[in-house]
């Protein structure tokens, strides 16, 4: 390793960047993760659909899909934000629009909301929290369950939480309050208990803390007395924010240095190698040396003009730069998370092999 440098430098903190950083670190590399801010992954529901991902057209046939997917499942489990599902598994989960979405992997609480598992579900809205209408949701979910030839019954309920009456609530406010104040958390549990009645699943807007881990969520379910599914609301969506927080924390524990807040200004090259990355920091650029670079920055990165277009992972002109995620091409939105995991895993693995190889030289 260089002074002020690393084996592998990953640019971007979306799903592909997080996976790549974890993959490289798990292969023994000293990893630095840089990003301007949270990626789009922090805005969605976190579902991953592996169906119809044609690896051959991407030139990805050498990626062992099950290895990458199992790596991701292990990663989220050790980060205490476990995913359920896997290759060949498939289920449907509710969305905030009252529809059902097909998915192969999802955060545990979302995954368990498969309508085939329940007869009675209660959708609880929070008074003064706009953007989550339990009546609308219950009606639409019942209708769509019928379309799937299921007789799952969705009914709505409204609960009131203690809050300042001066302004409408936000999901972030409730979540932060739950994180910081155990008496408020207890108040939430007490407010939810009466609406359960005979239901065996409770659907809520995502509010159960931005810092909670799996154990906290299980504990919450036990106290309320029912399985809970949280839906992603308008940004900032608490469940995905929590995923990002857990993954960041876990990466830091794996020894990954996380350097967020500053855009990459340029890649510094010498011949066919990228030797350093310059971040645009106040005063003057900050130069971070690296043996290998993983680009996980999406398609709109000003420092990549023109964008590299080599799908095989290594960019065409630089031998120690690997690309992953949506930078690799235009994909159907439904497939993006799957492609991020597959290509992120591989980019991290390839880069770590090279990085460690250099370090040992």
């Amino acid at each position: 390793m260089n002074a002020n440098g690393c084996d592998v430098l990953v640019i971007g903190e979306g799903l592909s960047g997080l996976t790549a950083a974890a993959s490289a670190a798990s292969h023994g590399a000293h990893v630095t993760l840089v990003s301007k801010g949270a990626g789009n992954f922090a805005l969605g529901s976190g579902c991953v659909d592996l169906e119809d991902v044609d690896q051959r057209t991407l030139g990805l046939e050498e990626i062992d899909e099950s290895e990458a997917v199992n790596f991701f499942l292990d990663l989220t489990a050790s980060a205490q934000c476990a995913y359920s599902g896997g290759i060949g598994e498939r289920t449907v989960v509710p969305t905030i629009l009252g529809t059902f979405q097909r998915t192969s992997l999802a955060p545990r609480t979302l995954w368990q909301a498969d309508p085939r598992n329940y007869k009675q579900v209660v959708v609880a809205g929070i008074a003064d929290l706009p953007g989550f209408d339990p009546n609308f949701l219950a009606e639409r979910l019942s209708f769509h369950a019928g379309q799937l030839a299921l007789d799952t019954l969705y009914r709505s309920a409204m609960v009131a939480l203690p809050h300042s009456p001066r302004h409408p609530l936000t999901a972030l406010e409730i979540a932060t309050h739950i994180d910081r104040d155990s008496s408020f958390r207890t108040a939430v549990v007490h407010a939810l208990r009466p609406v359960i009645e005979h239901a065996d699943l409770l659907i809520l807007p995502g509010i159960l803390g931005v810092k909670s881990d799996d154990a906290d969520l299980v504990c919450f379910e036990e106290e309320v007395g029912c399985a809970i599914c949280e839906l992603a609301t308008l940004p900032p969506a608490v469940p995905s924010l929590r995923l990002l927080n857990r993954l960041e924390l876990h990466l830091a524990q794996m020894g990954v240095e996380i350097f967020t807040g500053f855009p990459v200004g340029k890649l510094c090259t010498e011949g066919e190698q990228c030797v350093a990355v310059e971040l645009e920091t106040p005063g003057r650029p900050r130069r971070l040396k690296a043996d290998c670079v993983v680009l996980a920055c999406g398609r709109f990165a000003p420092f990549l003009e023109p964008p590299p277009a080599d799908f095989t992972g290594s960019t065409s002109s630089l031998s120690n730069v690997f690309a992953c995620g949506s930078l690799l091409g235009q994909f159907a939105p439904r497939q993006r998370n799957a492609i991020s995991i597959l290509t992120g895993y591989r980019a991290g693995m390839l880069a770590s092999r090279q990085g460690v190889q250099y370090a040992g030289r």
């Binding site: 002074a3 301007k36 801010g37 807040g261 920091t281 106040p282």
Partner: protein, 404 residues
């Protein structure tokens, strides 16, 4: 199209800034950076009146800027709102003085024993609270009349211009002296910059005229040293962030000064940033003597994080034998310079700091360390754990250093 327009249009309402805001976390009535920055700027441009009272509650911690994935200048837009927000009566008078720590410092340090005695008196603190809107819950930092002495050049040494900032200059000159000695030990000859405020308190209190005055005078003074090859060194992260800032919009009328400002900001280093560069190059003086065992809780100030320099003090102090140092990751301390001194904001300030206080107390350190003077005050106030500048810890590891 101006660059500012592009930045504003980059706001896609993802609300990532709101997730990073320390005030919003404890005080949900606050409208948050998205509404107070880009949203209100749109209203201003359209000439639509909007309720600007909450801009006053922004800490100026810049965490929203760091969080924004799209490069929107959120805090700058909020500061613009602050500058235009009408203030009256006692609040206006108080903020006028809080924006001028250099004037206050000059006055109080010249009569330090008297000033300190008066500031400590309970009746005076009650008066300051009732008539000056300054909280009686906190002690004012004591003033000192000691001057920070420069260090004479050795042949072949590099030149550094130390910018102590108002807090170190008037309230903690002993820290300033340690900074000079550390630079001296690492091969620098050190001059001390004249007593001009960095402008950060003026920015935080919405005083654009005062900010412009500070920036102009500082740039005009320091550019000469920079052009002779000196580096500007700060040991207060808020001063450092201010000196590295982009003030092209304030200096638009003075193109030569605007160019000079770029050179000054490009030559400004945080002390630890400079020392860690030496360490990386294998040039740090590491003649550390008898290890003094210390368990330290480190707090990273927001204005250090917004400089994008990593965590240089952790790296430096971990190289010192006997020192165990951990970062307590609990976001902002809540003090934000003059913010925590204001009557109406004291409660919010302490609420924000609560997570950090708990984290530090749970770690059971011998000392807490942080490089920001106002974070130091807040940590001592909230935890009663003695809090020092990390430079003091590093200095005591050298032979010349005396125990704290």
């Amino acid at each position: 199209m101006r660059d500012d327009d592009l930045k504003l249009d980059n706001c896609v309402k993802c609300s990532d800034c709101n997730t990073a805001c320390p005030v919003l976390k404890v005080y949900p009535d606050f409208s948050g950076p998205k509404a107070l920055g880009p949203d209100m700027e749109r209203f201003r441009r359209e000439g639509v009146p909007s309720d600007s009272r909450w801009v006053e509650y922004c800490l100026g911690c810049h965490r929203c800027d760091v969080a924004c994935p799209h490069g929107v200048n959120v805090s700058e837009l909020i500061a613009k709102g602050k500058a235009q927000h009408p203030k009256s009566g006692r609040t206006a008078l108080r903020d006028h003085w809080l924006a001028r720590p250099s004037t206050l410092g000059k006055l109080c340090s010249s009569i330090a024993p008297v000033a300190n005695a008066v500031l400590k008196l309970t009746p005076n603190r009650m008066l300051m609270s009732s008539f000056g809107e300054i909280t009686a819950e906190r002690k004012f930092p004591a003033y000192s009349s000691k001057a920070i002495r420069p260090a004479i050049a050795n042949h072949g040494s590099r030149a550094a211009l130390f910018f102590p900032g108002c807090y170190i200059r008037y309230n903690a000159p002993q820290v300033g002296q340690v900074v000079v000695k550390l630079l001296r030990l690492n091969g620098f000859s050190v001059n001390v910059a004249p007593d001009i405020c960095c402008g950060m308190p003026a920015l935080a209190n919405g005083d654009t005229a005062q900010l412009t005055d500070c920036v102009e005078r500082n740039v005009a003074d320091m550019v000469q040293a920079v052009d002779r090859g000196a580096v500007i060194v700060t040991a207060c992260t808020s001063c450092g962030y201010a000196l590295k800032g982009d003030y092209s919009h304030l200096l638009a009328k003075h193109p030569t000064l605007a160019e000079a400002a770029d050179r000054v900001s490009g030559a400004t280093y945080d002390l630890a940033e400079l020392l860690v560069e030496l360490q990386d190059a294998g040039k740090l003086n590491d003649e550390f003597v008898v290890p003094r065992r210390r368990r330290l809780a480190y707090h990273a100030p927001c204005h250090m994080k917004s400089q994008g320099i990593g965590r240089p003090w952790l790296k430096l102090l971990r190289a010192v034998p006997g020192i165990e140092i951990e970062e307590i990751k609990a976001d902002c301390c809540g003090m934000a310079g003059t913010y925590g001194f204001k009557n109406e904001k004291y409660g919010i300030s302490m609420d924000i700091g609560r997570d950090l206080f708990r984290g530090i107390l749970a770690f059971k350190p011998d000392l807490a360390v942080t490089e920001c003077g106002s974070c130091q005050m807040q940590i001592e106030h909230g935890t009663h754990v003695k809090t020092v500048h990390p430079a003091q810890i590093l200095y005591e590891a050298y032979k010349a250093g005396k125990p704290l």
